[in-house]
């Protein structure tokens, strides 16, 4: 009786489930909304698995995760899987970067004023740069959000003509230092009162009912139309690799060549109207899917939907 | 003043005892309380008793309990007590770290044979002797020995007891034993314990002359009694009687005395009948006569209790 009820249903108990691996931040959306809805519509059981985008990609490459579908933040993790597991990806949505803050922090009042518009948005950076301010962000070496946050500060400095010193004052050492936490840890510390503010996706802030400062499109890394602006920022990783700014899109692909039918069904579901609504409801911006890689290799049911869109 | 102990309810022991400097025997049947008494003195037993040495009170109703390790004594328990994982030498050197001071050791024990050995490689009797040496190495004034030579062979046991009695390596030596001759030979006083009752401490002679109860009389070697009247009984001790009538030696009792060899080849069992009362005892096999019409008693306490055979 242990395995019964584990994602299976009365519709087709013997059906092979679709196994979706996703970045940790996509956990709630997949597990609680996309998965159950997909199951209801198709009768295909849903199995989800979350983790760091790169970690998941490495595990998929190693064969230790039996994933059919991979939802990544950015397409860089998917590049690790080409060409063995897939040759294409679709950028289908993006979640805006926000600055979540601790409502019990001594700086909370200022944050609230900026949130309400009583103070100009640009004041937020001076606040982050204050001595003793405890900011949390994620590791740019392993997490696209961590990379985006660094580039966001750099872009803000340019856009708001802030003191060049402020970048260092806010971030300290870019790729190491006491500001950097794990994706799981950073918001927990914010919630427990250990941090004054933290980088976050809008989706996470919505899910966890956090107070946050929204960023303008030119800084939130979620608007494909601002791709050129994002591209003007760069971050150098510890291993010497230089990352150029790009929208923090949710990139999806099937795993396995050829892909399984369930995987194809799941991607088509994501592109369907119901799928798209689910994304928007959870704080994501959806836009027409953008193809990365070989269009010709995209399974035809998916390709058909792209042409319709 | 002396080493003293006063026991009261609800403890198992009751009674009061006092020991001047010297060597003292504790006697009593198995389970009578000898170990309980010695552990109390050592500070390992009941906190109810009042115990002290000279002017210092070790424990008492209105006094703090002086822990075992602060009492000026060394206690050798009845069970094996050597530390299993330390060599004999290590244990003794632990107690007496100054190796320039010669160890006080009883005769007949070649300590060097055992120095680097672990206790479990020694026989039970050897372990007991080492435990004694270890206790002596403390050089404390009070030495408590709880049947601590029970597994040592007779010859060596005699030798050690004799040495303790002669050299007095501690000012107070209290030892419990089940051997009457040991208790009487190597002691200044004897304390008898019976079912938790601690009898007054007396010299061995005194004890023999005034046995308090049938049980203590038995412990002291009395083998039976002849009733003189309802409340006067003559106690018979095998070591204080002669077969036949010798009025110049003691009191002559007209009794029908017979003997048979045995039970051991070394012994002869004697039987005396006096006014239909029978007393039996054992004595060395050799005898001038094996039957007689009288018994001469060199020392025969007259007591109020009878000492019938069980």
């Amino acid at each position: 009786g242990v395995l019964a009820g584990c994602g299976t249903s009365s519709v087709a108990p013997s059906q092979t489930p679709v196994h979706v691996a996703y970045a940790g931040s996509l956990q709630l959306l997949n597990n609680n909304i996309l998965g159950p809805t997909f199951h209801k519509l198709t009768g295909i059981p849903f199995q989800g698995q979350g983790g760091g985008s790169f970690g998941i990609a490495h595990e998929i490459a190693q064969g230790s995760i039996p994933a059919n579908v991979f939802e990544s933040i950015g397409d860089a993790p998917i590049q690790l899987l080409t060409p063995q597991k897939t040759t294409w990806a679709l950028a289908i949505a993006a979640s805006p970067l926000v600055i979540a803050y601790n409502p019990h922090s001594p700086f909370a009042a200022t944050f609230r004023q900026i949130q309400d518009g009583q103070k100009p948005f640009s004041d937020v950076f001076a606040l982050l740069a204050q001595p003793g301010f405890k900011l949390g962000r994620t590791n740019p070496n392993t997490d696209p959000q961590g990379q985006a946050f660094v580039m966001m500060i750099e872009l803000a400095q340019k856009q708001y003509h802030l003191n060049p010193q402020i970048v260092h004052n806010i971030l300290g050492p870019i790729d190491s230092g006491s500001e950097i936490y794990t994706e799981e840890g950073v918001l927990s510390l914010l919630q427990s009162g250990g941090l004054d503010a933290s980088s976050a996706f809008l989706s996470e802030a919505v899910e966890r009912h956090l107070d946050y400062i929204a960023l303008p499109p030119s800084l939130n890394f979620a608007d494909p139309q601002d791709a050129a602006t994002y591209a003007s920022a760069q971050v150098k990783l510890t291993n010497g690799k230089v990352i150029t700014g790009a929208p923090l899109t949710v990139d999806v692909t099937t795993i396995g060549r050829p892909p399984s039918t369930q995987a194809v069904r799941f991607i088509t579901f994501l592109l369907s109207k119901r799928g798209q609504t689910a994304w928007t409801k959870n704080g994501y911006t959806v836009f027409p899917p953008q193809v990365v890689g070989h269009v010709s290799e995209i399974p035809s049911p998916i390709r058909k939907m792209l042409s319709h869109a | 003043m002396n080493l003293y102990a006063q026991f009261s309810a609800p403890g198992f022991l009751h009674g009061h005892s006092e020991w001047p400097a010297g060597m003292h025997a504790l006697m009593g049947p198995s389970g009578s309380g000898k170990t309980t008494l010695l552990r109390s003195l050592a500070g390992l037993g009941s906190t109810l008793a009042t115990i002290g040495l000279k002017d210092s009170i070790w424990q008492g109703p209105s006094h703090d309990f002086l822990p075992a390790y602060l009492r000026p004594l060394a206690y050798v328990p009845q069970r094996p007590s050597l530390i299993p994982f330390r060599t004999i030498g290590q244990q003794i050197r632990w107690i007496q770290p100054d190796s320039t001071v010669p160890l006080v050791t009883p005769p007949g024990l070649a300590l060097s044979d055992f120095w680097d050995r672990l206790p479990h490689t020694l026989s039970g009797g050897q372990q007991q002797q080492i435990a004694l040496v270890r206790a002596l190495a403390t050089t404390q004034p009070v030495l408590l020995l709880d049947e601590s030579l029970s597994q040592v062979d007779h010859i060596q046991r005699q030798r050690i007891m004799h040495w303790l009695f002669e050299t007095r390596p501690a000012s107070w030596i209290l030892f419990s034993t089940h051997q009457l001759s040991e208790a009487l030979t190597f002691s200044d006083t004897v304390t008898i314990i019976y079912e938790g009752k601690v009898f007054p401490t007396r010299t061995p002679e005194d004890c023999l002359i005034h046995p308090d109860t049938p049980e203590t009389a038995r412990l002291l070697g009395y083998c039976g009694s002849f009733a003189l009247d309802n409340c006067h009984h003559l106690l018979i001790h095998p070591d204080y009687l002669l077969i036949g009538a010798f009025p110049d030696k003691g009191e002559v009792l007209e009794a029908d005395v017979t003997s048979i060899p045995g039970p051991s080849p070394l012994e002869r069992t004697w039987r005396a009948v006096y006014h239909n009362q029978v007393v039996q005892w054992r004595a060395p096999h050799a005898a001038r006569e094996t039957t007689a019409q009288a018994l001469t008693l060199l020392r025969a306490p007259i007591v109020s209790f009878t000492l019938n055979d069980h």
């Binding site: 395995l3 709630l28 698995q49 983790g51 230790s64 039996p66 | -």
Partner: protein, 249 residues
Amino acid sequence: MLRRAGTAVTAVVILVTVIPIAVLITQGAPKFGQALSAPGAGHALAVTVESGSLALLVIFILGLPTAYYLRYIRSPAFKRFVAVVLVLALLMPPLVLGLVLAYVLAPATASGAILSQWQAASNSFPALTLAEVYEALPYFVLTAWSAISAIPKAWEEDAWALHKSPWQTFRFVLWPASRPGLVTATALAWARIVGAFGAPVVVAYHPTALPVQIWITLEEAGLPQALSLALWLVLVGLPLPGFLTWRQG
């Protein structure tokens, strides 16, 4: 003096130990009731209890005979070999253990292939149980071995010399004598099992056991909900070692 220092340090240890427990209870209590009704939570609890019991059973079946057997080993070389192997296993961080297990269970390997015949090698109930067994086994065997080898050999010999077989001696003498040590070993093993996260998160994300579910909850719903579920985990884990240590007094 020594005793007073001991009292002080013990008080510090109790305080230090109680703080996180108290925090967990106060923070977890508000949403304690709802925590289980969240999707997946109730199921995760059942999975933890079921796979955990099975894992503990496997550990008993494997670990108990081993711990007793090692008592009779005379060869110091063999004892050392076993000790070092167990210490190596102990030092394997759970996450690494998970990665290694993923490798072992991959269909490419012999063991994975055999297991796949019958059920999915990874992300299956057996894989979860296996991960739990691996996380807890060295803790159990080392602790039990240490406790059992401290029992005097003489106790057994005395029984044998009374015409009692090793099995009878085991039941009447050795087993009760080793029980306090085994209680500790079981408590450690059970704690490792119900708290197993590093290995299961790699090889057995599904069926999801409570520790992984807590992590999922943390990602989905944030800290308060996660702490409520963690409180459930602690409460579910407590009865077994709690009962065992309680009886022992």
